[in-house]
Symmetry: C2
Subunit: 434 residues, 2 copies
Amino acid sequence: MTGPLKVALLGCGTVGSAVLRVLQDQAGDLGARIGRPVEVAGVAVRRPAHHPDVPAHLLTTDAHGLVTRDDVDLVVEVIGGIEPARSLMLAAFEAGKSVVSANKALLAEDGVALHAAAAKAGVDLYYEAAVAGAIPILRPLRESLVGDQLSRVVGIVNGTTNYILSRMAETGAGFGEALAEATELGYAEADPTADVDGFDAAAKAAILASLAFHTPVSAVDVYREGISTVTATDVARAAEIGCTVKLLAICERVGNGSPTHPGDSVAVRVHPAMIPTSHPLASVGGAFNAVFVEAEAAGQLMFYGQGAGGEPTASAVLGDLVAVARSRVTGAPGPGVTGYANLAVRSMAETPTRYHVSLDVADKPGVLAAVAQEFARHEVSISTVRQTGRGDAATLVIVTHSAPDAALSATIAALREMPAVRGVTSVLRVEGLS
Amino acid sequence: MTGPLKVALLGCGTVGSAVLRVLQDQAGDLGARIGRPVEVAGVAVRRPAHHPDVPAHLLTTDAHGLVTRDDVDLVVEVIGGIEPARSLMLAAFEAGKSVVSANKALLAEDGVALHAAAAKAGVDLYYEAAVAGAIPILRPLRESLVGDQLSRVVGIVNGTTNYILSRMAETGAGFGEALAEATELGYAEADPTADVDGFDAAAKAAILASLAFHTPVSAVDVYREGISTVTATDVARAAEIGCTVKLLAICERVGNGSPTHPGDSVAVRVHPAMIPTSHPLASVGGAFNAVFVEAEAAGQLMFYGQGAGGEPTASAVLGDLVAVARSRVTGAPGPGVTGYANLAVRSMAETPTRYHVSLDVADKPGVLAAVAQEFARHEVSISTVRQTGRGDAATLVIVTHSAPDAALSATIAALREMPAVRGVTSVLRVEGLS
């Protein structure tokens, strides 16, 4: 086999167009790096008339036919969504073709079955572009850190919510106002649900956790809270305690101690949290992404870059494409994904977290004691208390130590019922405090 | 072949001991990730009596015999230095064994020949640990970003000098004082030449440039200045213009325009420079390392983590070890290194840089005009001028636009000769200004 490797491109939106452009403009460089020329065999789209820039002879509406064509060697799937992407991917594997995908939703829902199908066929399935756009993070987890034991992976992996939270911090705006601005500037989609409610980040968290801990984790295993309930008060309170609010995707290996999960387990969650402004993730602003990794031997690592956009995502797709093409040339698939550790996924209720809570209270003798008693009753230990104001307008700002999330949320619920507490004005989890 | 993969460990210092410990303690996990058990076949050291913690039956002084033993599958070289590391590596390749190395000096001196020998033998040569310790940067360059066009790689890749410069900035100390402190705390070696004079960073720059630009670059191709001439005044001047001083390893692809190098070329250099405090590299403090990458499609990326130490370096070695072991299991080598682009290496004199220069001048009419004229005479354009003080103690702080380095250094030499200039108190290149 010395002819060119032929690539089937499924989908030609923002990312697909960028991939196609590079495949055509830099074919010489890519071929030299692969060790064999590479060319586009066809581009499957729903409406060929919408793609006047793509040479007509490449366009087809028959994606399945393209994927299974004998002369196609490799498949790039940038359609997104579950179907028909899944069926097309499985058809590609069955026909002995490796797949590069940017499809976080599909990989997070069905990664185990897809990896099994690829392994059975002896082909590659790579999807660096599915998490954090251009930032190389999946290959470092799969390969560079594969000789280490990871303890935590914490990511800012959704640019839309990071932009909104950054703007709220900069301008003091509320969520609604910042979202409207993001929509106007094109940082948020018309229906922003997938981003602001954390679905996008949860899919990415599932993928990160699967690779980091050699354990199958699906999107449904991920605890998820979005940012629509984050208020200007939350952001202001964060600043007062030297923190900033970020939507974090947190994947942790948790030691034993849980009665229902003997041995280690993993906890995977997406929620807004206050982090100290000195934390490397705190300065990741606007639409940028970053992933912070803690490993036993390597210590702390951070990966930073552009998390979205056609060109950055295309960079990740093309890196994977060169990798699977090299595998095709050598005749052996690249490293696969192992789920051998198969750790239990811990529920959010059992996951240790820390809370910040701000309370409006009357500054009367005994109020702090009563509040502290409520924390103690739930076996939640308090780290710091700060009281501001006097008389009827006093505010208590409390940061707890680590405790099971259920105990913390039960404490908050109980505080809301206390007569001495006029209102719970801000509740957010806190991460990254020593 | 279903028996365990056997590893020969060459060298058992800080890194080697850490590698050996993980290989023994986490053999189960590593085996599961490789797909076959892995065990240590032997450990070659110079003085077995110095290694009471290593099981005696593993120790040998016959490194060559160990490397070529029939039952050895993979070789880990953590001896360092040029010989005998090079001969042992070549012997390993000849015997069909893949090599994992942490040897930046050897790879920077002789990478082309070693890669050729590995490719000829159909085996792998990986050395993630050689640059920036635990930070995955070589694999991302070799694989993740292989579908992109890189324009710049800028690294803080030497922890000793970064610690010294950080302390100079924090305490106002001079170089000698900060070096003494670093030596006392174990951050600098008794003979700090390799670190403070930039040899270590230059070797890493050569490796980074080779991978980033698919072009053979050796340590001798790297322009190198160390930090021993950086003064407390330089550091204070940097702070005054919103900058901080870092020792940078800079690998750039430079467009055409050079009379002696038509077409693109690469420029690779190591020197101290002022960078804006807002630059992501500016906050990389103490013994940490970071590598900043700019690519055409991916945009700006940064990789951050611990750059040295036994455990972090072992993490990188073990990641590579799993990779080469997987190749051994599949029977096909992993992706190699291409030097196909083979770009010319531009001399420092022709490399575009920017300078900061502080001058003590008499505040007399015409002095600024005379100074500006000297810049113009060398075709160096000035970006900003700030004058502080009056009368006999005036200071001019000038930041230039980009110009060939030779023009800038000629300008400085001419300024030193000007009667109106009482002294050139600080000269440093500036990077990362927009």
